[in-house]
C-alpha cells in the first residue's frame, strides 16, 4: 500500500529555503492574478458577442442541470483539495491520499462532463456565440487537464514517499493551481449560464 511508505523526516528550513518557499508562493499568487486576465478577456468577448448576436435560445433542463452538476463537483473539489493540503501539512498521509483522490475524481468528472457539453453545443445556430462557447470550454479544459496532470504527478510522488509537514510545496502548488482552475470556471460559468 502506498500510504505505508514512510514520509521524509521533518527538519527545520534554512534561511535560503524559507526565502525560496516565499518566492514560490508569491510566484504562484502573481501568476494566478495575471493569467486570470486571459479568462477575463474571453469572458468580455463572450459578453460582447452575446450583445450583438440577438437573444440566446432557451436551454432545456438537461442543458442547465448537467453543467450545474459539473460546476458543483468542481466546487466540491476545492474543499477536498484544501483538506488534502491540511492533511499533508499535519503529516496525516492516509487522510491526504483519500482527499487527493476525491479531488482527482471530481476534477476528472468535471472535465469529461464539460467536454461532452461542448460537443453538444446548445448554441449551434449562433455562429460567433457558438464558437466563443466552444473556445471558452476547451480553453478552460486545457488548463484543467494540464494542472490535473500535475496533481496526478503529485499523487504519484506522494506514493513514493515525497512531501510532509516540512515539505508540502508540491501539494500546495497543485492545490493552489487547482483553485485557479475553479475560479476561472466560476467566471466562465457566470458568463455562460447565469448572467
Amino acid at each position: 500500500m502506498t500510504q505505508q511508505i514512510s514520509p521524509m523526516p521533518e527538519r527545520k528550513l534554512t534561511r535560503d529555503e524559507v526565502i525560496a518557499l516565499k518566492n514560490k508562493r508569491t510566484l504562484v499568487t502573481v501568476f494566478q492574478i495575471s493569467w486570470i486576465m486571459v479568462f477575463v478577456c474571453l469572458a468580455v468577448v463572450a459578453i460582447q458577442i452575446r450583445g450583438t448576436s440577438g437573444p440566446l435560445p432557451a436551454l432545456n433542463a438537461i442543458q442547465v442541470i448537467v453543467p450545474l452538476g459539473a460546476t458543483l463537483a468542481l466546487l466540491g473539489s476545492v474543499w477536498t483539495a484544501w483538506q488534502s493540503l491540511k492533511a499533508i501539512q499535519a503529516d496525516q498521509r492516509a487522510r491526504f491520499f483519500v482527499f487527493w483522490r476525491y479531488t482527482l475524481v471530481l476534477g476528472g468528472a468535471f472535465i469529461l462532463v464539460m467536454l461532452a457539453v461542448m460537443a453538444f453545443n446548445p448554441y449551434g445556430d449562433l455562429l460567433q456565440y457558438s464558437q466563443i462557447f466552444r473556445v471558452m470550454v476547451v480553453y478552460h479544459a486545457l488548463h484543467a487537464l494540464v494542472i490535473g496532470a500535475w496533481m496526478v504527478q503529485v499523487y504519484r510522488n506522494a506514493a513514493q514517499g515525497a512531501y510532509g509537514s516540512s515539505d508540502a510545496w508540491g501539494v500546495e502548488a497543485g492545490a493552489k493551481l487547482w483553485y485557479f482552475v475553479v475560479i476561472a470556471w466560476v467566471l466562465f460559468y457566470a458568463v455562460l449560464y447565469v448572467f
Binding site: N23, F31, I36, L42
Partner: protein, 573 residues
C-alpha cells in the same frame, strides 16, 4: 545622520570567473549574462527595425512609389518596422536593463527564479526569427496593430499567422520576466531596504511588471481568437459572417496602451538614476516619482479607447478623454521632480547626462502632443495622420530610446568594466538630438496639413517637409553607428572604469566592474538614501567603499569631472 558602514564587509576583490564572448551565446542562469543577452539581441533587432525605417523614409522622399514594389510591400515595411521596434527592441532592451540591474540594486545574488529568467529570454530569438521568416511566407502587412479585417481577410500567406504566433511567444516571455521581477523585488530586498529606500529604477520596473502581468494576458486572449480566425475558420472578427472588427480594437488597445508605459516607465526609472547621479543632487520628490509610476500603471488601464475616438460610441468619448488627460498628471509630476532634481546641481555634462536631458526635453513634446490627442475635437481631425506618428515617436524615441542611450552610457562601465569614449558619446548625442528633432517634429505639420499615415504615395505639396524628414532620418540612422563603434572601440581599448566611476550611491556600484558571479562578496549594506548626494555622510560612505573596492578611473590621476570642477569641501559628493 546616516550610518557610515563599510558597504561590503570582508570583501575580497578577485579577477576569478572572467567572462568570454562564448558565455553570452549559450544558456546561462546568471542574471547579468541574461541582461546582456537581452540587450545584444535587442540591439540586433534595433538595426533591423532601423533599416526598415530607412526604407520607409527612402520611399517617402518623393510622392511617387520608388522603393517598394507596390503598396503591399510598403505595408510590410511599416508593419515589421513597428513590430520589431516595439516587441523586439524597446521591450526586450528594458528587460535587459532590468535583468542586469534589479538584483544588483537590491543587493541580491540573482533573480528569484534564475532558470525561469533564462527561459523567458530564450523565447525571444525564436520569436524574432519566426516573425522575420514571414518574408518567405507572405509577410505580415496589417500594421503593428493587426486590425481585422486587414489581418484576417486581406492578409494572404502565412506571414500574418507567424506574426501572431511570434507575438504570443514574446508576450509569454514578457509575462515570465515580469513575474520574476515582482517576486524578486517583493522578497529579495536586503535588510534595511524598505520599499521607499529602493532605487527609483526598481520602482519603475515594479510598476512596469505589474502592467505586464495584468495587460499582456489580455492580448494573449485576443491573439488566440485572431489566430483561430486565420487558421480554424472561426469568425470572431470577420464582418462578412457577423463578426465584430471593433472587438479586436478594444482587446488590442486594452493591452497596447498600457504597453506604451511598459516601454517608457523603465526609461523614467533610468532617468531618475542618471539625473541624480550626474547632478550630484538628491532626487526631488522621491515618493512622488515612485508613486506616480504606480499611478501611471493604474490609470493606464482606463484610457485605451482614446485610440478609437472616431469609431467610439459618442457618449463614451468624454469619459475616455478625461482619463487620458488625467494620466498626464502623474507624468507631469515626474517631469517637475526631475527638473527639481537637476536644479542647482553640480551637473556633469557627460554623455549619459546629455541623453538624460535630451529625454527630458523631447519627452515633454511627446507628452504635450499626447494631451492634444486626448482632446476629442482635435483627435477627430488628426486621427490616422502623421501627427499621430510624430506623437508616438516623440514618446518612444524621444522618451524610451534616448533613455536607453542614457542608460547605456551610464551603466556601460559597470557591465564591461571599461569606459565609453566621451567625445564620441557627445557626437552621438548631438547628431541624434538634432536629427531626431528634424525627423519627427515636421511630422506634426504634415499631420495637421492632412497627410495620412501608412501611405507610400502622397500629394506633391507634402514633398518639401517629407524630404526634410527623410534626410534628417538618414542622419539619425547613421548616428546610431557612432554608439555601436564606440562600444567596440571601448571593448578593444579597455580604458578601465573601476568599480564606481560616477561615485553613485546605489548598490550596483558597490561591487567590482563587472561584478563577480554572485554579485557581491558578503552582504552589501545599502546606504540609507540611495540619492543622498551632497552630504558628508555620503562622501564618507563612498570613501569607505573606495578603500575596499579600489579606486575608480585607475588609469587617470583624477576623475575628469573632479579635475574640471575641484570641490573645496568633501560635502560636495
Amino acid at each position: 545622520m546616516a550610518t557610515i558602514s563599510a558597504p561590503l564587509p570582508g570583501i575580497q576583490v578577485s579577477e576569478e570567473g572572467k567572462l568570454r564572448i562564448g558565455d553570452y551565446l549559450k544558456w546561462s542562469v546568471d542574471h547579468k549574462i541574461i541582461g546582456v543577452q537581452y540587450a545584444v539581441t535587442a540591439l540586433f533587432f534595433f538595426i533591423i527595425g532601423g533599416a526598415l525605417a530607412m526604407a520607409i523614409r527612402w520611399e517617402l522622399l518623393t510622392p511617387a512609389l520608388d522603393v517598394a514594389a507596390d503598396g503591399t510591400a510598403y505595408n510590410q515595411f511599416f508593419t515589421m518596422h513597428g513590430t520589431v521596434m516595439i516587441f523586439l527592441w524597446i521591450i526586450p532592451m528594458m528587460a535587459g536593463f532590468g535583468n542586469y540591474l534589479v538584483p544588483l540594486m537590491l543587493g541580491a545574488k540573482d533573480m528569484a527564479f534564475p532558470w525561469l529568467n533564462a527561459f523567458a529570454f530564450w523565447l525571444i530569438p525564436p520569436a524574432g526569427v519566426l516573425m522575420i521568416l514571414g518574408y518567405f511566407a507572405g509577410q505580415a502587412q496589417a500594421g503593428w496593430t493587426a486590425y481585422p479585417p486587414l489581418s484576417t481577410m486581406f492578409s494572404d500567406g502565412d506571414g500574418q499567422t507567424m506574426w501572431a504566433i511570434a507575438i504570443h511567444l514574446l508576450g509569454a516571455s514578457s509575462i515570465l520576466g515580469a513575474l520574476n521581477f515582482i517576486v524578486t523585488i517583493r522578497n529579495m530586498r536586503p535588510e534595511g531596504m524598505g520599499y521607499f529606500q529602493m532605487p527609483l529604477f526598481v520602482w519603475a520596473m515594479l510598476a512596469t511588471s505589474i502592467i505586464i502581468v495584468m495587460a499582456t494576458p489580455f492580448l494573449a486572449g485576443g491573439l488566440t481568437l485572431l489566430i483561430l480566425d486565420r487558421v480554424a475558420g472561426t469568425a470572431f472578427f470577420n464582418p462578412a459572417q457577423g463578426g465584430d472588427v471593433l472587438l479586436w480594437q478594444n482587446v488590442f488597445w486594452f493591452y497596447s496602451h498600457p504597453a506604451v508605459y511598459i516601454m517608457v516607465l523603465p526609461g523614467f526609472g533610468m532617468l531618475s538614476e542618471v539625473l541624480s547621479v550626474h547632478a550630484r543632487k538628491n532626487v526631488f520628490g522621491y515618493r512622488a516619482i515612485a508613486l506616480s509610476s504606480m499611478a501611471i500603471a493604474l490609470v493606464g488601464f482606463t484610457v485605451w479607447a482614446h485610440h478609437m475616438f472616431t469609431s467610439l460610441t459618442p457618449s463614451l468619448r468624454i469619459p475616455f478623454m478625461v482619463t487620458s488627460m488625467i494620466i498626464a498628471v502623474p507624468t507631469g509630476i515626474k517631469i517637475f521632480s526631475w527638473i527639481g532634481t537637476i536644479w542647482g546641481g553640480k551637473i556633469r555634462f557627460n554623455s549619459a547626462m546629455l541623453f538624460g536631458l535630451g529625454f527630458l526635453s523631447m519627452f515633454v513634446i511627446g507628452g504635450i502632443s499626447g494631451v492634444m490627442l486626448a482632446a476629442v475635437p482635435f483627435d477627430l481631425h488628426v486621427h490616422d495622420t502623421y501627427f499621430v506618428v510624430s506623437h508616438f515617436h516623440f514618446v518612444l524615441y524621444g522618451g524610451s530610446v534616448l533613455a536607453i542611450y542614457a542608460g547605456i552610457y551610464h551603466w556601460w562601465p559597470k557591465v564591461t568594466g571599461t569606459l565609453l569614449n566621451e567625445s564620441m558619446g557627445k557626437w552621438h548625442f548631438w547628431l541624434t538630438y538634432v536629427s531626431f528633432f528634424f525627423t519627427f517634429f515636421p511630422m506634426h505639420l504634415l499631420g495637421m496639413l492632412g497627410m495620412p499615415r501608412r501611405v507610400a504615395v502622397y500629394a506633391p505639396e507634402f514633398q518639401t517637409l517629407n524630404s526634410i524628414v527623410s534626410f534628417a532620418s538618414f542622419v539619425l540612422g547613421i548616428s546610431t553607428f557612432i554608439l555601436l563603434y564606440n562600444m567596440v572601440y571601448s571593448l578593444i581599448k579597455r580604458k578601465q572604469a573601476g568599480p564606481n566611476p560616477w561615485r553613485a550611491l546605489t548598490l550596483e556600484w558597490a561591487t567590482s566592474s563587472p561584478p563577480p558571479a554572485h554579485n557581491f562578496h558578503g552582504d552589501p549594506v545599502p546606504y540609507k538614501n540611495p540619492y543622498g548626494y551632497g552630504t558628508e555622510a555620503a562622501y564618507r560612505y563612498l570613501e569607505a567603499q573606495e578603500a575596499e573596492l579600489g579606486k575608480s578611473w585607475p588609469n587617470l590621476e583624477e576623475e575628469p569631472a573632479r579635475a574640471l570642477k575641484p570641490s573645496s569641501s568633501p560635502a560636495g559628493d
